[in-house]
Amino acid sequence: MTVELGYAVRIALLTTLLGLVYRGHYRDCWSFVVYIVAVASLEQLQALWPERYFTYSYYLLFQAFFDVLKFAVALEVAFRGFRSFPGAQARVRAILVLILGVTTWVALRGPFDVPLKALALDWQPRTQTAAIWVMTTVALLIVWYRLPVPAIQRAILLGFVPYLTVFTTLFSILRMLDVADGLPLAVVNVANGSAYLLACLWWAYSAWRPHARAGGFAAPPLLEASA
């Protein structure tokens, strides 16, 4: 089941990538393109050579890379969305610095000298929560300042935040049960894979949607002058 889900996810990611390139949305968030390529290729690597790459050490390494890319996506959306609005940009910069500072402190408080399984259970929810906070901040400030962000950036945030919430919840349940193998892990893997597949399908749909650029409108003249 997990293997089939993995293939379905990679197909959805490739569909998203093709849509981003075909519709030209890749220009709206380069780091999201890098994220999709990284997830699709590294997970394919795990599927092809599981005995070498499907281990906790590689899992944590890959996840760390994906997490960096998630933060990059959130920061790029913030940078692109707010760059033409100096007042709002100063505000978003201050809030993001505060959130990143708090979340770094929260992440650093996690245990380091524990087995890799325990490290995954403890470390992942913290990092994912940090990503959720950063993305939520960016999303709320976009809504507050009524910024005309491209539809694909909105879709990226709308895909990430619910999925990461599911991911954090599932990992928190595993942590509560204190198990990282056997049936609970298999169930969590299927649930997590299904949630991620839904997010990927949403991104694929948004990437292929016509007129999705800039929220379905032509770039406003007020912004064209400064872009």
């Binding site: 507050w144 005309p148 962000v149």
Partner: protein, 227 residues
């Protein structure tokens, strides 16, 4: 379970899905476009001031006529007072709608022009004086000029509603007891506060328009940005 991680994540998810999911970026872009032509001239401010001046001459004339008739024909005076109240009530939706739109634009504007607070000093009604006093305190707690502009619009909306309430109550009292001196005084004070609110609304529109004009001129001086 790390509830302190999980609960904020769930709350963030709900917020993002509810707000960003319903967020209409296309409408936001149209609003920005609407802001641009308005910013090209201060004609709207002058037009609004003229409209308010016209309204003022009508309800002042009606109220003075009602005051004069009090000694001669009390029934006619009560009728004229009711017409005055109906005229002001008829003018209120236009003002409230404008304030609502300005509040929306205020959040989008960089608001480069300093925004003065709505001071309580000029108001004659006690409720308006209280609104002005609270507004001034909150004004100084807010950091950015655009937030202060938005707050100004909110306060003026409260003010318009408070004046309408005072007009209705005093008119009802006069209908019941035409010789009731206090009700006439409250009506007169409410009209005076209405004048002040109109003047504040014109000043608010002027701040919004000047901010947009200044922002456009500043942007014209800035070299085009490239990513």
């Amino acid at each position: 379970v790390n509830w302190w991680l999980l609960l904020p994540a769930l709350a963030s998810c709900v917020l993002v899905v509810a707000l960003l999911g319903r967020y209409n970026a296309a409408q936001a872009a149209r609003d920005w476009d609407a802001l641009a032509p308005a910013a090209r001239a201060e004609a709207p401010v002058e037009a609004l001031a003229r409209q308010f001046e016209g309204d003022r001459s009508v309800y002042t004339h009606l109220f003075l006529s009602a005051s004069r008739e009090r000694r001669v024909d009390p029934r006619r005076a009560v009728e004229l007072l009711e017409i005055t109240r109906e005229f002001v009530e008829g003018a209120a939706p236009d003002r409230l709608e404008r304030l609502k739109v300005m509040a929306r634009f205020a959040r989008m504007a960089s608001a480069l022009v300093p925004v003065p607070p709505v001071l309580p000093t000029g108001f004659k009604l006690r409720s308006l004086w209280s609104i002005g006093a609270i507004a001034t305190v909150v004004h100084h707690l807010l950091v950015s000029a655009s937030e202060r502009l938005w707050w100004r619009c909110v306060v003026l909306s409260f003010g318009v509603r408070a004046v309408l309430g005072a007009l209705r109550r005093s008119d009802d009292s006069v209908q019941r007891t035409p010789e009731m001196e206090r009700a006439w005084t409250v009506f007169e004070h409410a009209l005076s506060d209405w004048d002040l609110l109109d003047a504040e609304q014109v000043a608010t529109l002027a701040v919004l328009v000047r901010s947009s004009l200044l922002a456009e001129r500043t942007r014209a001086l800035t070299p085009p940005q490239t990513l």
